[in-house]
Symmetry: C2
Subunit: 222 residues, 2 copies
DNA sequence: GCCAAATTAAAACAGGTGTTTAATTTAAAC
DNA sequence: GTTTAAATTAAACACCTGTTTTAATTTGGC
């Protein structure tokens, strides 16, 4: 008995797919309502505006991901000692479990995050920080615990490098995966990419601040 | 004697600034021509289309950056042995020298690159690969030389992680720099960000493939 | 079945986009 | 100085965007 979806859910499903594929700005309401097979005006009726629809799409995933991540981080903090990879590992299961929302849930969520940051979606950043800022703070604390030698500023920058690397490969994921398949006979889904990311990111976050002193002088001259 | 700029150059200067700040799609021709103080139609007269204008803007920077990078890589290859940081270091001077084109040249170029990849600008990717694909190939070869234990596929993915981290912090550069200043009293320009990036990226690229075997099993269960 | 509320539908709205046209001005060549 | 080409201008074009309006329809409670 295939459940008959209400208009509101048909819109959300079509929107999350298109947003993940094309970004928020490049997806029009007419495209969404056409694929969802509903009337154009129903978006504004049910959600009020496109901006509110974007937030509703993100909220379904945030609500599934953020509490799970937070619980993992709390458990990690309780055990007293941890490594950078331990912290990153806390992200894996909550991310992979997003497949329960949607068969492509993991890559959809990461793509949405990527578009939220790379497009000018200031309202999305504020929305995320307002609702889940405490989770972000806990991530920072865990990384600090794992790397007591790093300053807060260094951790701040390195976590944004981490975010950048992650969302970039997810947003470009399909294209990159096709290249990788053609060149290396190695197709990569969201899970594969995550497993490739973690050693890279863990080493980067935990790296000594001045890996090679020669470089600093080169930069100083420049 | 302040040189009087021709219309074509006034357009290029206004366009590169707005493109770097707002991205390509969010910058309208009317915005460009208004700031450049030229007529709207002159863009299509001098460049043919907005797409061609975008490529012209990129080409000024590519032409200054790519040959310089390539020369540095060739010199590195000639000396037989190199490290990952050596390779990354080849990017620094060519990037910083872009300030000769424009006081903010370095961050403009990296922002343009970021927008070129994060927006759906397929024509820009093709344009870059067509003109400078051999430079990209040389980067791959140098990284392979510095890390003989890594497979070509691993290098492929890690260089895209690298690109992602780099362009993300540049595109979000201004916002991030403001946060960093507020939280850590530490303002960061393009050069500062590069110096923070290099230890992170070098450690990530050269990281062992299975940093912590426990993680692989967690991923395998997922 | 009836009525009121919720929902859907078609159409128009107001504003923005890149591009093109045709007329005018500027600049250079002879 | 005249002529010819290049460059600039203002206006319109065709299309797309999110949103609103008004009317028709469906739904749920009594």
């Amino acid at each position: 008995m295939a459940k008959v979806l209400k208009t509101k859910d048909k819109i959300l499903n079509a929107a999350e797919r298109l947003f993940a594929e094309q970004g928020f700005e490049h997806t029009s309401l007419r495209q969404i309502t056409s694929i969802a097979d509903v009337n154009l005006a129903s978006v504004n009726y049910h959600f009020g505006s496109k901006k509110a629809l974007i937030q509703a799409v993100m909220e379904r995933y945030h609500a599934a991901f953020m509490p799970a991540l937070d619980a993992g981080l709390v458990a990690l903090q309780a055990q007293g000692f941890n490594t950078t990879e331990d912290v990153l590992n806390c992200f894996v299961e909550p991310l992979l479990n997003l497949d329960r929302l949607n068969p492509n849930g993991t890559s959809i969520y990461l793509s949405l995050l990527g578009h939220a940051y790379s497009e000018i979606q200031g309202h999305l950043r504020r929305f995320t920080m307002h609702h889940f800022g405490h989770v972000i703070q806990r991530v920072l604390a865990c990384i600090q615990q794992a790397n007591p030698q790093l300053s807060a500023a260094t951790i701040f920058w390195r976590l944004h490098f981490t975010l950048g690397a992650t969302v970039f490969v997810q947003v470009s994921g399909q294209a990159l995966s096709e290249i990788a398949e053609a060149d290396f006979d190695e197709r990569a889904d969201a899970k594969d990419i995550i497993s490739k990311l973690i050693p890279f990111l863990a080493a980067g976050i935990a790296a000594p601040v001045n890996g090679n002193p020669d470089l600093s002088s080169t930069l100083a001259q420049g």
